[in-house]
Amino acid sequence: MRLDLLRDLWLERRRRFAFWCIMVVGWSGVCGLLFPVLVDEIWVEVVMDWFNPALDLQQGYWLVALPAVGLPVLGGSFAFLEGGSLFKGQTVRHAIAFLLAYPLPRWQVYFSRLAYLLSACFLLTVAGYLSGSGMILLTGYPLPTGLFGLLPGTFLLILLLGELGVLFGMLSKSFWLDRLAGIVFLFLVYLPFGMRSGSGWVRYSPLFYVLGESPLMGGVDVVNLLVLSLSCVAGGLAGGYVFERLELE
């Protein structure tokens, strides 16, 4: 990986990142401010009834504890779109082809881009968590136990969505098709969360692997994190394999 390429990517994309960062920080901040109200059981039940009366209290709690759920959605959207835009479009392809006219191996160019995606996802996750938890602390309410234990899982989930965006960016020629696919995918990721935890479908949600069934009580689930980490490694390598064979027309 070349640090100069990574630096150039950050310089080039800093405004886009700042926009998404403001969105995530704002969202998490507002949710942190409202946290004492949201965790009130009465409010939780109101939202649960509206969303899905079949939910158990723990799931309902997570639906309203929006920073935890909202961060992967916003962060995941950012990662998917950003991952795609790192390799898609005529201008981007021309820029990559021009770099490859220099004596640089393809893997260096690919991993520099992946490192940018990884660092952007990490910073976005940390910014969201700091904003949310900071606001909770400002309200004088104690931080939920195990909140920061979710950070690695959320980050890995966002990164995985970013890698999926990278693959779409390289393989799909249509901007709209992959955006649609991204939205459908994000929807599918979170849909099982609206079902009963006993349902078999819930296991198809990557969020399940991050949070487990009782996230705040259980802290970090090492096995689930390992599954997610391996998926990220596999996603990164799959992207590298595709990029190695990518035709830069």
Binding site: D4, D8, A97, F98, L100, A101, Y102, P103, L248, E249
Partner: protein, 300 residues
């Protein structure tokens, strides 16, 4: 076996079953300026992209500086300079900083030579990249392609967007590199450019090479559209006897015609009368393809 800077054998590339390059075989000698002439979409850039391993051929093989361009891509690209057709520059840095970045990526570049090249092209290195005109962007592309004194330089439409002075400088630079034994392969749609600086030219049509001409041959076969205005009405019969005149039209004191090759006889005949004006135009590529290679205009 003689050493060749570039050798392709039966190079074929298909995109989604549509052929972009069909069985291209060519050889470029050291110290040669070789042109790839053809309309847009005729396969010139595709060939350059294969040589740089941006895309892989469907069939055939390409050797650059004696090395397989796929297996030894990294080594090849270390010794080759490339100017792309479309150069995307980053924002927020100056032209000078950008050249330093290119030099760092390349490694082993003498910045004094890069600065010298920038000065020759009258490129203001203090300007931010986003404020550069298309011509100045092209100059940056040229400087980065030449700055490491490569053995082989691949140029895709090098004179596009350049002003006349910069074009002249480019031709001088190419001549200097040729004199040092370095080779240049350039793709262009400009027949006059090819005539002027190339030793040999491969003429592309729909992914195939239909002819490889020497620069002098191209000049001899060159077609010009001539328009002459005389002080008095003239008798068109006097031009009809000339061998290399076609499409002759006389209108009172004006004569329109096309001349293939040397216009000497036409000019000598015309000077028997008082000439008020003479305009010579290069025909379009389509017209050249039609007249010289017998390819209908619509087909290009």
């Amino acid at each position: 076996m003689r050493y060749l800077v570039l050798r392709t054998e039966n190079l074929t590339k298909e995109f989604h079953r549509r052929p972009a390059l069909c069985g291209v075989t060519l050889e470029v000698d050291p110290g040669e300026v070789f042109g790839l002439l053809g309309p847009s979409g005729s396969g010139k850039s595709t060939l350059l992209h294969i040589l740089l391993d941006f895309i892989r051929p469907s069939h055939g093989q390409a050797l650059v500086l004696g090395m397989d361009c796929q297996r030894n891509g990294l080594k090849v690209r270390r010794l080759v300079g490339y100017l792309p057709q479309n150069l995307t520059l980053p924002k927020g840095i100056t032209a000078g900083q950008l050249l330093e970045r290119f030099a760092a990526l390349r490694g082993g570049v003498e910045m004094t030579f890069a600065d010298e090249l920038a000065a020759r092209f009258q490129l203001n290195l203090e300007l931010p990249c986003e404020r550069l005109s298309p011509g100045e962007r092209r100059k940056i592309g040229l400087v980065q392609a030449f700055m490491h004194r490569p053995e082989l330089i691949l140029l895709d439409e090098p004179s596009r967007d350049l002003d006349t002075a910069a074009q002249r400088e480019l031709y001088r630079l190419i001549a200097e590199f040729r004199a040092e034994g370095r080779s240049v392969v350039m793709a262009s749609q400009s027949i006059s450019e090819m005539e002027r600086i190339c030793d040999r030219v491969a003429v592309f049509y729909r992914g195939r090479i239909i002819a490889v001409e020497r620069g002098a041959q191209l000049r001899a076969r060159a077609i010009r559209k001539i328009e002459m205005r005389f002080a008095n009405p003239i008798n068109p019969q006097i031009f009809m006897g000339l061998n290399n005149i076609n499409q002759l039209v006389c209108d009172q004191n004006k004569v329109y015609c096309t001349v293939q090759g040397d216009p000497d006889a036409l000019l000598k005949t015309a000077t028997q009368f008082r000439v008020l004006d003479i305009i010579s135009q290069q025909p379009s590529l389509e017209e050249v393809y039609q007249t010289v290679y017998g390819i209908p205009a619509y087909a290009t």
